[in-house]
């Protein structure tokens, strides 16, 4: 499959990334060889195979839906790039 730098730019946009032209060209070539390698899976007929998304054998763990405090506000905010002491701060949206 041919992957163009323009296609890489579209994927980057979806992934919230911004790449310069050199990197778009570099990644396009690398993606092509990696995706071609991945396409070796098409040699296998898997039409009757149930997908396996996780190796976990046990069923989903449930607990009572009880609200509980797990962390202090100051601790949660302690790594934020910008806060007002109470909330995370981001640029005005509307």
């Amino acid at each position: 499959m041919k992957i163009s730098p323009e296609r890489v730019a579209e994927i980057a946009k979806l992934a919230r990334l911004e790449l310069d032209d050199d990197k778009l060209t570099l990644f396009a070539g690398q993606f092509e060889s990696i995706l071609n390698y991945m396409e070796t899976l098409n040699e296998l007929d898997t039409s009757d195979v149930e997908p396996l998304y996780s190796p976990v054998m046990h069923s989903t763990v449930l607990r009572e839906d009880v609200a509980a405090k797990t962390a202090e506000r100051n601790a949660v905010l302690s790594n934020a790039p910008q806060t007002d002491g109470q909330f995370f701060v981001v640029p005005k949206i509307v």
Partner: protein, 487 residues
Amino acid sequence: MSNLYTKSLSEVRSLLLSREVSAEEAVTSCLDRIDATEPKIQALLSVQREEAIAAAKAMDAAGPDADKPLWGVPVTVKDVLCTKGVPTTCGSKILGDFKPFYDAYSVRKLKEAGAVIVGKTNMDEFAMGSSTENSAFHPTRNPWDLSRVPGGSSGGSAASVAASQTFGSLGTDTGGSIRQPASLCGCVGMKPTYGRVSRYGMVAYGSSLDQIGPMTRTVEDNARMLQVIAGHDPKDSTCSDLAVPDYLAALGRADLKGLRIGLPKEFWGKGLDPEVEASCASALNTLKELGAEPVEVSLPHSPYAIAVYYIVATAEASSNLARFDGVRYGYRDADASELLDIYVKSRSKGFGDEVQRRIMLGTYVLSSGYYDAYYRKAAQVRRRIREDYEQALAQCDVLCGPASPVTAWKVGELTDDPLKMYLMDIYTISLNLAGLPGLSLPVGLGRDSGMPVGLQLLGKAFDEATLYSVASVLEKATPTIGTPAGL
């Protein structure tokens, strides 16, 4: 005791409990060794010097506690595991200033067992890599030959253990990231069954593949560490509530009579470097002399494992790493003025090339129109891979093969060719897809390179005890590889 750092974890534990050595002496011995070796290997991203000495002094004042299985033992921890108040960078600029306000479950268990954390180990950024050259801070060197890589992504932990900076380290294994660096650095590395160790507090990469495990210089040391970190944790819904067996009790076996050892034909043929094959074949002969009966088995879908892995892992990575948006923690680009701009600029400047490459591959394989062709298809082949293991392990007690197709390669040798680098995990990756346990232990030095070779033992789900039992017998019957030649 001047050469304390050369002892095993189990030996130091005995010396600490009998008060022949104080916790402060043990910690100081490791810190001195770090000072002596770190300029050459750069295995660490941070050293908790003052905190470790203060903790050791407090422990000495209280006296040894035999109920704490790692009382006073200095350890290092891969920088992907959250440590309260101590930097946890994942080898990435985007988390350069991050100091978690809580401990990962496995870190908490180490501390409760009396271990003292002396350093956080270097790693490929977000555990994406096979050589520890993808760290945003610096590459780590192999203690056996400083011109070579230590493997990855737990290369910092492997180098730190091999160089005797610590008595044990925690690594993580998504596609072989404990077993492969253990093999390249001459350590014992265990990737437990998926769900055996809680992933709470581990920064997620490929959530259905990631598993935390110990890296040590001996099999017994490894069993001691897994004993501490294994077990149920309600904070990780994928963590098993099966009882944890006594791993130390598994170590007393005298021989391997009655043990059936499966040899997957796909692991012992084409693509295996002759010096790795020679060392592994010699170990296999030892296993036979000890009474093990070889059984030829097949894992017919293993040639597809790397393609499946890079679809599943990148898909999960693109989702997991969406949380790094410059809002709640991590790097925020100062030039960004709008919200979307914060996301895009912070991520573009904060993530390195390999992480960006994998996020975008994951975004692509999950995108509309391609989901069925890539992600669903990969999940279907993943089931076939697990069925292969189930059928092979129905015929024997453990499987055995090399951990890596080659010994440690030169720094920079593969960095321009990501696909070739991905192929270095060919013997480790399928086990993560199946969720089963695997252990790598050193079995010799390559006759050409003089670098360590690791043999991999693969087992049934939650049967780590058998892996320890077999590895311990083989370890006793195998000449030691000695100390790293590069230091």
